[in-house]
């Protein structure tokens, strides 16, 4: 008799388990619409670093096709899957990973921080579930989340700072410009002298 795998209790798309621990697989989506790939489940396989498409039967995912993606990052593979020329639908994890891809692309968050932040803060997965989805320890989740929050807070502060009116700032903190080495003298070294 062959091995009887364990599967996670959480399911999506009418019974596809969110995680298949014995296969290190995480459900990221499925193919919908009409065509030869319709109905296939898409699982990201840790270790392999790829999204495979296939059938789920008897508690096992049977791969048939792969999403060709140079990167092994979960978020990059999801991005590749969703931009393929077929109709696809993302699972809740897939949606969060796509958000992580955008975070990684548009912010200063590292890939690790973007993945953790998107799953924990944006999609609302628990600490342990995030760890299981990303195949890392819960304490690593904490570390990346903490660092992501620090970076985003710093970025938010910077945005607020550049929006503040200079006069308001001078009123609030008269020593600011002096401490920052900024002079309000019209003859400052920033003046441009035309070349003769």
């Amino acid at each position: 008799m062959s091995h009887q795998p364990t599967v996670s209790n959480e399911t999506e798309f009418d019974g596809l388990p969110r995680r298949l621990p014995d296969q290190d697989a995480v459900l990221v989506g499925r193919v919908i619409g009409s065509g030869p790939f319709t109905g296939l489940a898409a699982y990201y396989i840790h270790g392999q670093g790829s999204i495979l498409l296939g059938q789920y039967q008897r508690k096992e995912f049977m791969p048939e096709y792969t999403v060709e993606c140079e990167s092994r990052l979960m978020s990059a593979c999801v991005r590749e899957f969703i931009t393929a020329n077929v109709e696809t639908e993302l699972s809740s994890v897939g949606e969060a990973l796509l958000t992580a891809w955008h975070f990684g692309d548009l912010t200063s968050l590292s890939h690790k921080q973007a993945h953790v932040y998107a799953l924990r803060e944006k999609a609302g997965f628990s600490r342990d579930e995030t760890a299981a989805i990303l195949n890392i320890s819960p304490s690593t989740v904490d570390t990346h989340l903490q660092r992501a929050k620090e970076k985003l807070t710093a970025a938010e502060n910077l945005v607020q700072f550049v929006r503040v009116d200079a006069e308001e700032l001078a009123d609030a903190d008269p020593d600011f410009f002096e401490q920052a080495g900024i002079s309000d003298d019209a003859d400052s070294s920033n003046d441009i002298t035309p070349l003769s």
């Binding site: 091995h3 290190d24 670093g49 495979l52 048939e64 990167s71 979960m74 077929v86």
Partner: protein, 256 residues
């Protein structure tokens, strides 16, 4: 995972398996020691010629792996440079011995925890599986299959998955390179995969046959070939084999 045939090929099975005029049955269009079976009169004649050779020469020829020909006259003229299928090709018992040896090493090196043989898979197409989450290999083969789907090649292939898993980063949140990086390496790896398991399917759409598009599947095929028939692997896929040896060689000094 080793499946026969690739699931996408099921509906094309009749097209891919051909009965040839000389009594051989072939999977796909290429003659390889792994995609041929049976054989007729020419095979019997080749066996007679081979058994008439000196024992030392015969053994030496069987252990090496040269290009395959089914043309008796061509082979007779150049026995040391060519192989006749099932005559001076590596015997399936030797495939199995080599695979068992590498499987034992994988267990010693803690790359694999358990190997279960003679498993009755519910899916009739499956010959072997590697369960990465529990580091278990299951093998369930059929002695009537083409030798690319018999115990030796299948076991070596699954051990290849386990070594890939041991090398590969566990989590998908770190950017890491693929094992095969250049198009030459990938092309060569695909050649070895087709040599062992027959042709891959060309898909009409954005997704590739998992054997063709997956770095790990290709690595498992190159690994199996390197273990079962090292000379042929190095001749056919020098860059892919070198890359695999570099990467997997770091995991165990006794591997190659």
């Amino acid at each position: 995972m080793s499946r026969f045939p690739s699931p996408a090929l099921i509906d094309r099975l009749d097209d891919r398996i051909q009965e040839l005029d000389d009594g051989f049955v072939r999977l796909g269009d290429e003659d390889t020691p792994f995609t041929l079976r049976e054989g007729g009169e020419s095979l019997e004649q080749a066996e007679q010629l081979h058994s008439a050779r000196e024992e030392a020469e015969r053994k030496r020829d069987e252990e090496s792996n040269e290009p395959v020909t089914r043309t008796l006259s061509e082979w007779r003229e150049n026995m040391m440079e060519l192989d006749f299928p099932f005559v001076d090709t590596i015997p399936v018992d030797e495939h199995r011995r080599r695979a068992d040896q590498v499987a034992e090493l994988a267990i010693e090196e803690n790359v694999v925890d358990t190997i279960e043989r003679d498993v009755a898979f519910e899916d009739q197409t499956v010959r072997g599986k590697y369960w990465r989450g529990v580091r278990l290999i299951e093998i369930g083969t059929d002695s009537d299959d083409f030798s690319g789907f018999r115990a030796g090649v299948v076991l070596a292939h699954e051990v290849g998955h386990a070594f890939y898993d041991a090398w590969s980063p566990e989590s998908g949140i770190e950017e890491q390179p693929r094992l095969f990086r250049t198009s030459d390496e990938k092309k060569q790896a695909r050649k070895l995969s087709e040599r062992l398991h027959g042709p891959m399917i060309e898909t009409d759409g954005p997704f590739a046959d998992y054997r063709k598009g997956s770095d790990e599947e290709l690595a498992a095929a190159v690994f199996a070939s390197r273990i079962i028939e090292p000379m042929a692997a190095q001749r056919i896929a020098p860059d892919a084999v070198r890359r695999l040896e570099t990467i997997f060689g770091d995991l165990s000094t006794n591997l190659f």
